[in-house]
Every structure is written in C-alpha cells, then in structure tokens.
Amino acid sequence: MSLGLPHTFLGLDWSIFAQPAFDRSGTYFQFLLVGLQWTLIISVLGWAVAFVIGSIAGIMRTLPGRILPSIAAVYVEVFRNVPLLVQLFLWYFVMPELIPGIGMWFKQGLNPLLQQMVAAVLCLGFFTGARVAEQVRSGLGSLPRAQRAAGLALGLNLMQVYLLILLPVAYRIIIPTLTSEFLNIIKNSAVASTIGLVELSRQSQQLGEFTAHWYESFIAVTVLYAAINVAVMLAARYLERAARLPGLVGGHK
C-alpha cells in the first residue's frame, strides 16, 4: 500500500486509495488528486476574475457622478441576491443560448470539460467579484478623504491617484477580508460538481458510488479541504506581514 497507511484504520479500508480507479486513469489516490487539481484551477482562475471585476466595480462605486456608481451597484446587488447554484446554471445552460456569438463558440469550440470550466470560472468570478467590490469600496472608504485631494493637488490625474495612492493602502487594509473571500471561493467551487466538473467533491461522490467506500472517500476529501484551508491561511498571514506598512494598520512604528 503506497500511502504508508494501515489497510484498516478506524474500521475503514484505506487500501481503496491504492486500487485502480474505475476510469483506468490510475489509482483512486490519483483520482482524488485530479479533483484537487481542478478545484485549485477553477478557484484560482475564478479568483483572478473576481479580483479584476471586483476591483473595477468597487472603484466605480467610489467615483464621482451617478452613472458609473449605479452600474456597479446594480452588478453587486444582482450577483449577491441570486444563489450561487442558480448563477452557475445560468452561466452553463442559459448564457450560451442568449448570447449568440459567444454561445456558438462555447457550444462548438469547447469540449465538455472546458465548457464546464469556463462556466465555473465565470460563475465563481462574478459571484465573488460582487463581494470583493464591496470590500474594495469599504477599503477605499476607510481612507481619509484628504488623501485623494492631496494626490490631485500634486497634479496627478484621478486614475493615477487611485493606482498610486489610494489602492495600495486600501488593498493592504482589506487583506484579511479578501483572504476569507478566497477561502470562500475554494469552498464554493464545490458547486461545479453539479454541472459535472470533476473537482474534488465530484470525485469523492464518484469514488463513493463506484466503490461503496463512502466514508473513506468523504473523510479523505474533507481532510483535503481542511488542509487547503490551513495552507491558504498560513500564506495569507505571510502576505499580510510582507505587505505591512510601518505605523499603519497593525504595522510597527
């Protein structure tokens, strides 16, 4: 048994992970690793989408005028008030039908796995982006208003003020809340199992169905999720320390 675990432990048969998977792709251990890999792929890509869209929407909400802040507000409200699963099905089943050009590409240019991946990444990205937007907005809102004026007074334009002065501080302030959103996106990525994407929770279900070793499968996957959680939290702590500004938000004087 390659994992170095006893075959039976807690009355369960752990040798199942050394047996070949039903799809002949390798052992069930490797089968779960495939799931882990897809969980990480859609989470990270989804996070990239969420970070970009959320930042843009969050900034828009703090801009002067009416139109841009309202557009961003509508985006946030829509994506916060529709369940994640419904959003996923809308991306996967409805978007390709309603948007002809992209729909054709989606339906004909992509294999099923890529279709699932694109839908999952867009879903997680837009869903999480609405939450990131709220945090970016509150991060920007927590800065003294004179900072913007000071930047403009130096002759910077508004774009430069945001990029050079406001955002670098705002992002640092919201690292903890962004971290918990990143943890959420990993957990939320499990909904992609409902459209058949072979991420971690989907693999655990399949493993259970084909081998009837439900407990071994669920325990292994639960431990994997918990491990990802711990790893992300440690990484976030490191990031927070590295980004700390002396004298500001918990930094040293």
């Binding site: 409200e77 829509v78 916060r80 008030n81 529709v82 369940p83 994640l84 699963l85 419904v86 959003q87 099905f89 809308l90 089943f93 409805v94 039908e97 309603l98 002809p100 943890l183 990993i186 957990k187 939320n188 990525s189 499990a190 909904v191 199992s193 409902t194 929770s201 655990s204 279900q205 259970g208 439900w214 407990y215 669920f218 996957v221 639960t222 999720y225 918990a226 959680n229 711990v230």
Partner: protein, 224 residues
C-alpha cells in the same frame, strides 16, 4: 437571440410553490436550530474553561472549513443510517430530514461566530452591573447581555438568513426538490430550461433584494 417560451411556467406554478415551501421550511428550521445551538456554542466558546471553549472552536472551525456541498453529502450519508438505527421503520422523508440536520448544524457554526462577536460587543461594565445586583452569571447572560447582543446582531443574523435561504438551493446535490430543483426539473422535462432558470433566478433576486433592502432600513434605524 432565440424567442423565449414562457408557456410552461403557469402550469408549473403549483409545483414551484410546493418547492418554495420546502425551501422555506429548511430555511426556517435552520434559522431556529442554528440560532439556539449557535448561542450555546458561542457561550461555550467564550467560557473561561478551556474544554468547552476548545470544543466549540473545533466545531465552528470544522464546519467553516469545508464546502456546504460536502456537508450536505456527509449528512445524507450519516442521517439515513442514524434514522435506521433509531427507528425500525423510517417513515420520514430521508432527504428532507438530512437537509434539516445538515443546514441546522452548518448554520449553527456561522451563527455562533456572529453571536460571539455580539456578546463581546457588550461592555464588561454591563456584566459587572448585573453581577453587582446579585444576579448569577447565567442570569446576567440571559437578562442583560444576550438581549443587547441580539439587538446589535439583528442585521447580521438576518443577512445570514438571506444567505441561508439562497444556499438551500444546494440540496440539489442530494436530489431534494425544493424551489430551484423543481424549476430545473420542470425545465428539463419540457425543454424550457432557459426560461425556468431565468424565472427561478428572478424570483430569488426579487425576494432576496427585498429582504436585504429591509435589513438595510433596519440597520439604519438601529444605528440611530
């Protein structure tokens, strides 16, 4: 854009309504059990005794670190076996009972954190004042601290309830037909998935947007 065919929705409304009742019952049970259990866990977590406080921390961090989908699958595995062990002839709808249990225990971990923060926001002076009047610790918690804490937490508790209402759609993974499940299956059967999904999304949006707007009004009132 293809023409949309809304004709199958009127006929499906009774079924959708039944699905909504399932959604609401899961939400209601999970809110009730979640808040009661969450309060117990929060007070255990704040206890000076390290045994209850670390057990409570384990409970909260455990549930919060795994996906709700996995929690639902776990309880759909565990609950039927428990029911079988407890009652010889299980008459209950196993999927529904599993969903009740899973959401109640899962939400308790989220409510516990909200309630803990609420309890901690009540000043130590209030506790001292209760004790100084001769109240026991339990009385001080029940009569002085919790009423103030709940008032302050109300917007957060309600927001969590809205999130819970949306999350109940995930019982799809254990094959339970609540509102979303009914909508999807109706669409699948009639070949009107696009229409039914858009309809379901719109219903969720209207309900949740209205509820969160009310919470915002409430929040402003409390802040005054």
């Amino acid at each position: 854009m293809p023409a949309l065919d809304w004709s199958s929705i009127p006929g499906a409304l009774p079924f959708l309504w039944n699905g909504m009742l399932v959604t609401l019952s899961i939400t209601g049970v999970a809110i009730l059990v979640g808040i009661v259990l969450g309060t117990l866990i929060a007070t255990a977590r704040l206890s000076a005794n390290p045994i209850p406080s670390s057990l409570a921390a384990l409970y909260v961090n455990g549930f919060r670190s795994i996906p709700l989908v996995m929690v639902l699958l776990w309880f759909y595995l565990l609950v039927p076996q428990l029911i079988q062990a407890l009652f010889k002839n299980p008459a209950a709808d196993i999927r529904l009972v599993s969903a009740f249990v899973a959401f109640s225990l899962f939400e308790a971990s989220y409510y516990a954190e909200i309630i803990r923060a609420g309890i901690q926001s009540v000043s130590r002076g209030q506790v001292s004042a209760g004790l100084a009047l001769g109240m026991s610790r339990a009385q001080t918690m029940r009569l002085i601290v919790l009423p103030q804490a709940f008032r302050r937490m109300l917007p957060l508790l309600l927001t969590q309830a809205i999130i819970l209402f949306q999350d109940t759609s995930l019982v799809y993974v254990i094959g339970l037909s609540e509102f979303f499940g009914v909508a999807y299956r109706t669409g699948d059967r009639d070949g009107t998935i696009v229409e039914l999904l858009l309809f379901a999304g719109a219903v969720y949006f209207v309900l949740c947007f209205a509820a969160s707007s009310l919470v915002r009004v409430l929040q402003r009132k409390i802040a005054l």
